[in-house]
Symmetry: C2
Subunit: 191 residues, 2 copies
DNA sequence: GCTAGAAGAATGAACGTTCATTCCGCATAA
DNA sequence: TTATGCGGAATGAACGTTCATTCTTCTAGC
């Protein structure tokens, strides 16, 4: 196995294990074993477990950002842009259960809260695409007049909740239901 | 300290510590110390840590159920019943941050998923109050026609999301905002 | 082209720490 | 005196991390 392959394999296994069993169900020794490398080898690529965890998070964030960007047209009407982002996001989660579960684990950890705090009170990144849309919508009076973070909760709270349940196997979402669901989210935020 | 006082104190401290630092940030020894009892004493009241955790969860569930019941009138129109349950729940969470954080921790643990699975596929308890309302609403065509669990996500996803952020201190919710927010949730589920 | 040696990468046993749980001596009340 | 409940030191399992050693790859000299 080449050097970059090893790193990638460690990251892949870490995603899988942590998504399935949580941070505390994924000891470094187990990650190493399943990745087919020595326990110490991981520390050649990541300073410690925390760095591995946050680095993996960053990579996921980037992939989602790219997925959202694909096919996004800033010139479309607000409603259409909202529907596009919502369905893309929900589909991404449903199609990538491991990634979704990982994000949830991360968000419910101290790292996640810290990270979130920075985002809400500072410069976003893929937030910008959401932030831009929402600010635009408020100015044009097409969305309810709530503070931005509250509007985010209103719009994406249902989305995350339904993705979680679908991924846990409580039910399945077909394409039509996804579309109708995101429209329902729109009903929640729109004026 | 009398016997029942000790038990109650252990439960109180466990709630506090676990809510603030998670299951893994709340070692039994620390719970014991802050509760003013010996480490071994906890095991006179709870077989092991898991039992303590699930027992505490059950007690919280019961308190929420009671809060929801107070002032609930099954004869009111669907919209009013929905608004009552929503605002009561959201207010309860905002007023009881420790309890909310504990519930979140629990839900994101293996116990929680198991528990949830039972609920969605079986007999509810305080669910009944929600289930009854929602089934009623669908039959009368006052809510969108989604499977029940999806409708729950649509209605309560935003609520949990906004409660979480408020409790983490990202913003504060006054009474007016709570009311308007729950109405926005209603916009999401209503036909 | 071949080989000796250096340099870098990988390894996994070992370490120190932390945790849930157990156990035994002690105190209190009968 | 005896019995009961309690405390907290002791225990052993599990973890993240380290480091002395081995293995691999590359370079340089012939």
């Amino acid at each position: 196995m080449t050097k970059p392959e090893k790193r990638a394999e460690v990251v892949r296994v870490a995603l899988e294990l942590i998504a399935e069993k949580g941070f505390h169900g994924a000891p470094m020794a187990m990650i190493a074993e399943r990745a087919g490398v020595g326990a110490g080898t991981i520390y050649r690529y990541f300073e410690n477990k925390e760095v591995l965890i946050t680095e993996l998070y960053r990579e996921l964030e980037e992939r989602i950002f790219q997925a959202l960007l694909a096919g996004y047209d800033p010139d479309q009407p607000i409603r259409e842009r909202f529907l596009h982002l919502g369905t893309t996001l929900l589909r991404f989660f449903v199609d990538h259960p491991l990634e979704f579960r990982y994000l949830e684990q991360f968000h419910n950890s101290p790292y996640g809260v810290e990270h979130r705090r920075d985002k809400l009170l500072g410069k976003g990144r893929e937030d910008d695409i959401f932030r831009g849309l929402f600010v635009d919508a408020i100015v044009r009076r097409e969305m309810k007049d709530f503070p931005l973070p509250i509007l985010f909760s209103l719009a994406f709270g249902p989305l995350l909740s339904v993705a979680r349940d679908a991924i846990l196997g409580f039910y399945t979402l077909d394409a039509d239901q996804v579309a109708r669901f995101v429209e329902a989210c729109w009903d929640g935020v729109r004026r």
